[in-house]
Structure formats: C-alpha cells, structure tokens
C-alpha cells in the first residue's frame, strides 16, 4: 500500500470533484428551475474555455478582460439557447426536451471542432500555474489550488444569490411552483432565461478553470457526462446534493484509479467506475441522497 500515492490521489479527487460539483450545480440549476435536462452542459463548458482562449491568444487581450468578455458571451449564449430552442418546447413530452439538448450538444461539438480545431491547446501561463507547492508533504499544483478556491467562491456566490437576492428568491419560487410564482408577479420567462444564463456563465468559468489546469480540447465535454453520476448520486433537484455528488464522484474516480493501478491492473477503470455506481444507486435509491421523492397521484 502506497499511502503517499493514496493521499495524493485523494486530494486530486477532492479538487477535481469540486469542479464536477460546480458543473453539476449548473446542471441542477437548469433542471430545478426549468425541468430541462441539459445534455449539452459539457459543451457549454468547452465553449467557455475556447472563447476565453481565443480572446487571450488571438486577440491578445489580457486574461482578466478576456475572462469578463467570456462571461458576457456565455450569458448571451445561454439566453439565446433558452429563447430560441427551449422555449418552443415548454410543455412537450420529456423525450423531446432531452433530445433537443442532445441535438444541441452534437451540433455544438461539430461546430467547435470545426472552428477551434481538434488539438488540445494550452492557456498561456497566466498565474504561474506550473508551480508546485508542498502542503503537509503532498505536492499540489498551484492551478489545482486556484481551481479549488474558485470552486468554493462560485459555491459561495450561488448560496448568497439564492438565499439573499430578489432574483434568487424568484428563481426558488419558480422552481417550487411555476403557476404560483407567476400569479405572484414573477416573470417565469425571465426566470427561465436567467437560469440558463447563469448556468452557461458558471459552466464557462468552470471550463476556463479546467482549461487552465489541463489544457483546452473538445474532450473536456466528457465532464458534462461525468456530471450525470454526480447529480444522480446527489439527487437531481438538490444543489447541495450536486456538490456532494460531484466530490464523491471525483474522489471515487481517483480511488478507482488507485485500486486499479495497485491491485487490479484493469486499465482505464476510473473512467467507467462512476457509471457502475450510478446504476447501483438508481437501483437502490433512485432519488439520490438529497433529492425530493416524487409522490404521484392518479
């Protein structure tokens, strides 16, 4: 048993898990307020990363400005997707809504492949991110620490937004019951658009962070798929659950890699392990750890 490696992977898992948690949170935000399962969440993330990278490398903008412009772009993008594609489908059966986001996802994949190319590209070194610091005997990359801090900040802002702002309250009300919210003077249309805008923006931030830590490529969209085990684990409509689920999936992945590397020698077990867990959870506890159980009446 190599404890060093074990703890190293555990810490990596925690940090990656926090990022999964952030993306899962965006996913849950859309699901909770608009009842849409967004299969294109991963593509949102990649889009954010590519746009920011293009602004930094092609337009030679300073990173901070590029970051702000990317956020604005993602907000606009989220609103456009909601109004043009999702709004006509309100009230349609669930398969239509799922399929339209799947269609969006493969459309965006191809478009981004075309525009930005197939190769992975690195961000220019913005924060001295290749450095390594030593914390309690473990080597942690600065970029990882940065992403950890950012994840915590994003989660904090989410909490503040939903707990203490007017729009957050409106969004919670809409998530609770659309008709009642509407009768209280909340514009459900605006709230839907806002949910998509926020979700796209935060996914964009997550994409940039992951892009800085690894490098930007279209395969980052796989994070969007990893989100599913996380949200199912946490419960589809629980934001806290999304964070917890994300962390568990991140840690689990790295533990699977550890067990695999040390004992089983199975090869890429870690990419598939979360899906086995997902199936098991769905069999035992389909509404996840924190999800609300549907009670149906005839």
């Amino acid at each position: 048993m190599k404890w060093d490696l074990f703890f190293q992977l555990l810490v990596n898992g925690l940090i990656v898990g926090m990022l999964y948690g952030v993306v899962a949170m965006c996913f849950v935000l859309i699901y909770k307020s608009t009842q849409v399962v967004n299969f294109a969440q991963g593509e949102f993330l990649v889009l954010g990363a590519w746009v920011c990278l293009a602004l930094v490398t092609n337009m030679q903008l300073p990173f901070f400005l590029a970051f702000i412009f990317t956020l604005i772009f993602m907000v606009a993008f989220g609103i456009i997707v909601q109004t043009v594609i999702l709004r006509p489908l309100i009230g349609e059966p669930i398969i239509s809504v799922i399929m339209v986001t799947i269609g969006l996802s493969i459309f965006m994949q191809a478009l981004m492949n075309w525009i930005f190319g197939n190769d992975a590209k690195r961000f220019p070194d913005v924060f001295g991110t290749t450095d390594v610091v030593n914390i309690a005997g473990l080597n942690v990359e600065v970029a990882y620490l940065l992403s950890l801090v950012l994840s915590i900040v994003i989660m904090g802002v989410f909490f503040w937004f939903f707990r203490f702002t007017r729009h957050g309250l409106a969004m919670r009300a809409t998530a609770f019951d659309q008709q009642i919210a509407q009768s209280l003077g909340i514009s459900v249309k605006q709230t839907f658009a806002m949910a998509w805008a926020i979700s796209a923006m935060v996914s964009g931030v997550a994409g940039i962070v992951i892009g800085i830590v690894n490098s930007v490529s279209n395969s980052l969209a796989f994070v969007g798929i990893k989100v599913f085990p996380a949200v199912i684990l946490g419960g589809l409509d629980s934001i806290v659950g999304a964070v917890v689920g994300g962390i568990i999936v991140g840690v689990l992945e790295n533990l699977a890699e550890f067990v695999d590397g040390q004992y089983l020698q199975f090869g890429n077990l870690y990419t598939i392990a979360p899906f086995y867990v997902l199936i098991i959870i769905l069999m035992i506890k389909p509404y996840g750890l924190f999800g609300t159980k549907d009670i149906e009446r005839i």
Partner: protein, 354 residues
C-alpha cells in the same frame, strides 16, 4: 398527439373487432404494400452498387430503429444505449460463428436472442425508474457495454475487433451486395410485420397504456415491471438482429462503431420519422442516412464559392444531424410520417381539404 384524419373510402365500414385489428386497413393498402415490395425486389439489380449499399444500410438501421421505436415511441421509455445493444448483436453473431461454428444465418437470430437477454438485464432498472432517470441509466449502460467490448477479448477481440464472414446458405453465398440486400430486405419485412402485429395485440396495447399513463395502466391490471422489461427485451432483440446484419455486411466489427453518437442517431431516426410508427422508423432511417450525403454534396458545391467549406465537410455532416433533430422537434414534432398522413388526407378529401 394531434388528431390526423385518416379517412377510409366511403362504404368501407368495420363491423367486427377483427376488421378493426387488420394489419392493413383496406384492400388498397394491402395491394400498395405488396406492389411496393415487388417493385423494390425487381428494381434492386438495376440501381447500381452505390445505391444498393445505401439501401442495405437503410434497411439495417431501419430494423434497429423499429426496435427502438417499440421502447421509446410505444412504451415511452427513453434509451440512450441502443447503439451498445446494436454492437452487442454484431459481436455476439461474430462470436457465435467464429468460436462455435454456428452457421451465420442461424447465428444472427441467436445473437439477437443473446442481445435480448442483455437488454433485459439492463432493463431491470427500468422497472423502478422512468423518464430522465432511465435516460441516464441507459446512458450508463452505453458506456459500460462499450467498455466491456474493448475489454472482453474472448468475446469481441478487444480493441482489435472481430472478423465476421458473409453468410452462406447450402452453398449459396451472400457474397455480393445484391444477395445481401435481399437478406436484409427479408429481415426488414419480417421485423415490420412482426412489430405491426405486436402493436395490435394485447401486449402492444399494454405498452401504449404504460406510455400514456402508467399508474392507470397498473390499476387496470397491466403488470408494469413485466411490460417495461419486456419492452427493453423486444427492442434489444431487433437491435441485436440489426447489429448482426451490420457486422456480417461490413465483415469486420470494431468497438469504435458503436458510440453514443450512433445511439443519438437511432433516436434521431425515430423522432424524425415519427414516434411510435413502424413506417416512420424506416423513413427516419432513410432520412438520417441520406442527410449527410446530401450535405456532403451541398458543401462540395459551396466549396467552389467558399473554399474554406472544404475542410468542414465532416463537421457539417454532424451538425446537420444535430440541426435536423432540433428543427424537427421545434417545427414537426410528430415526424415525417405525420407529414405523409397530412398529404394523404388532403388528397383523399381533395375538394374539402384546405
């Protein structure tokens, strides 16, 4: 579903349940179907190899799409893992033929039966969950099965893939496209007739009841668990059959062919064709297979004006599928078959339509 007028000729009344349950509603329909089939059989030798291979692929995908349609269109369960079952059928057939020397024409249905078993195992979660949760569970089964294909060398040849020979019946080898086309056509007709038949039986009505309101269905005595798993099983059977035909047509089966993108394409076929309709699935399969080719020629033409388009050919193909899904869902959610019914109805009611 909106109401589509489907008028019968005047004087054609149905007086019994058997009449109402007929496979073809009118004699004209029966004759039209037989004439169309005869036309395809006669015309096949003359259409050239390119179109023949296209028709074979359309036939194979149509079989899988009809299967998926039972699950998605009729029972209302969403499956994002159909390509994995399709792939399982392809590998299973090659495995049975290579390792046990089963004659290939027998190995195909046998592989379909094996796929049925696998589909039912993965359908077990469906007994408890539905809608979104089920979509995500089937997504997981897609990844788990493709992972299994690349791992299980005894079964699929691992990353190297498996060889699959063309079938052979008492010395009559299906070694050219024309012969293979007839084989595919045979299975397509069998599938279409079997599924249409299934849908008008008690089981078919039970599937529809589960889709429309599962609680009421349960109250009325439909065994939900049984029908949900059965629907997975039947759908996997046709996926496996189509997969086996696919494998032996290409003569080589590899893991890369059965990605999530193919699963999405199967779903696109039934959505574009029309959910719950057998003929819709065939139309949808044709649409999804021909669309990239049309886009290919469009981009080739566009490349004369904008040379930059040349590099984007493969991307434009994928984008066109994504765009087709989105546009159909927004503007024609009931699919091509609904369009066809409207056209037919307006012809029949001619002076009074519009």
């Amino acid at each position: 579903m909106s109401y589509v007028p489907n008028p019968r000729p005047a004087g054609d009344f149905r007086t019994s349940y058997t009449d109402d349950n007929r496979l073809f509603k009118t004699h004209f329909e029966t004759r039209a179907a037989l004439v169309l089939l005869a036309l395809i059989i006669v015309a096949a030798p003359f259409i050239g190899n390119y179109w023949l291979s296209q028709l074979i692929m359309i036939g194979i995908y149509a079989i899988a799409a009809i299967g998926l349609n039972i699950l998605v269109g009729t029972t209302g369960q969403i499956s994002l893992g159909h390509a994995a079952f399709f792939g399982f059928g392809a590998f299973a057939s090659a495995w049975l033929a290579n390792s046990f020397g089963v004659p290939i024409l027998l190995a195909m249905p046998a592989a379909a039966l094996l796929t049925t078993a696998v589909g039912m195992i993965f359908g077990v979660p469906a007994a408890r969950i539905k809608g979104l949760y089920l979509a995500i569970a089937t997504l997981a089964s897609q990844f788990i099965l493709t992972d299994f294909f690349s791992r299980a060398e005894w079964f699929s040849g691992g990353v190297y893939g498996a060889l699959a020979e063309r079938p052979n019946l008492f010395g009559f080898a299906f070694n050219d496209d024309l012969r293979y086309f007839y084989l595919v056509l045979f299975w397509l007709v069998v599938t279409a007739v079997a599924v249409t038949n299934l849908l008008r039986s008690r089981d078919g009505r039970a599937f529809v009841a589960v889709r429309d309101h599962y609680l009421s269905a349960e109250v009325m005595g439909v065994n939900l668990t049984k029908y949900r798993i059965l629907s997975f099983g039947i759908s996997s059977f046709f996926a496996g059959l189509a997969g086996a035909l696919f494998g032996h047509y290409l003569e080589y089966v590899s893991v890369e062919g059965f990605t999530i993108l193919l699963s999405i394409q199967f779903l696109a076929m039934i959505i574009i064709g029309g959910l719950g309709s057998v003929y819709g699935a065939i139309l949808g399969a044709a649409f999804i297979l021909l669309l990239p080719q049309v886009m290919e020629s469009v981009t080739t033409m566009a490349a004369y004006i904008f040379p930059a388009m040349e590099s984007g050919k493969s991307y434009v193909k994928q984008m066109s599928i994504g765009a087709a899904i989105i546009l159909f869902l927004i503007f024609e959610p009931e699919g091509l078959i609904h369009r066809w019914q409207q056209i037919r109805a307006s012809w029949k009611l001619f002076p009074f339509s519009r």
